[in-house]
Amino acid sequence: MTTPAPRETFALSVNGRVEQTDVSPDKPLLWVLRDELDLKGSKYGCGRALCGACTVHVDGQPTRACVTPVKAVAGKSVTTIEALSETELGARVQRAWTSLNVPQCGYCQSGQIMAVVALLKAIPAPTDPQIDEALSGNICRCGMYPRIRKAVHELAAGGFA
């Protein structure tokens, strides 16, 4: 078992606010978000970058918070599911998710939504293969992939404005 590095103070930009944290630099971002900043929307699924439940945006790019040491995001901008509805696209995705009943148990869905918002920002009208390529790292045990794909296509067509 490795000994954690001594604590350091980090000024983190999370959801547009600067948050001071005093943690080990190797502490995974996911645990800083959940335990230090009380942002529990990002989920712990596997802790090994295998499932996507912990996906947040770092400078706009979907990133697995469970394997990202907090020191890696110093000076970068972190966005979590909690702030997504503040953007027009994020709010539309949220409406799509509720209107189409996308989640079943919901556990994977904050990660799915983070991935979808990034996808639609980068590729406003993605094809099915582009959806698969962007979301292949987000696993849904309930198998809601057809609903996710449907929601993405309806959003791309301008739905849920």
Partner: protein, 188 residues
């Protein structure tokens, strides 16, 4: 019949040995054909992962290479899909328990630098071809092997991953010897 087969076998083996006479490029090929390198020097639209297999009788080690989990793709520049970049999971360093490997600018080598299935002659020519290797002359190749963060990661891969044969410093010495000899390539 049996004798013929045996002789043919022996003859074939002898010819094979002659054909595979030791060459100064051999140790370099051994390193470049290790999964630590090959998994991202693919000819495919995706990286691979590998599993070490040890024959229980002979102790011979081989590697089973297979498509990377999560069906991740190469993408336009080798860094993955636009919003599922290699860096979404692979950070600048291995995670503490080594389960997820990491190094700066984690990405696939370009398709022109695919090395899978090449014999040592083809590998050697590919390595030296400036149209394929990003315009690196021999000095730049040595520097790349000496300093590039992803190359260095091959010798500090974390977890229970094997490292290529030869220590990194020895590999560089062998590479320099080969370059000093005029970087000759074997014919097969």
């Amino acid at each position: 019949m049996i004798r013929t087969a045996l002789v043919t076998g022996l003859l074939g083996a002898a010819l094979n040995v002659a054909a595979q006479a030791p060459h100064s490029f051999d140790p370099i090929a051994e390193v470049l054909q290790h999964p630590r390198c090959l998994n991202c020097h693919t000819f495919t639209e995706y990286p691979t992962q590998s599993r070490k297999m040890v024959d229980p009788i002979s102790g011979e080690v081989s590697y089973l290479r297979f498509r990377h989990a999560q069906q991740v793709i190469r993408g336009e520049k080798g860094f993955g899909a636009p919003t599922l970049q290699c860096g979404a999971c692979h950070q600048d360093e291995n995670v503490a328990d080594g389960k997820v490997p990491g190094a700066p600018h984690w990405h696939l080598a370009p398709l022109s630098m695919g090395w899978e299935g090449l014999n040592r002659g083809e590998l050697c020519e590919t390595l030296k071809d400036t149209d394929k290797n990003g315009g690196r002359d021999l000095a730049a190749l040595v520097k790349h092997m000496e300093e590039d963060a992803l190359v260095l990661w091959g010798w500090t891969p974390g977890g229970d991953r094997d490292t290529p044969p030869y220590a990194h410093a020895d590999f560089i010495d062998l590479l320099k010897l080969w370059v000093a000899a005029g970087a000759p390539c074997p014919t097969n």
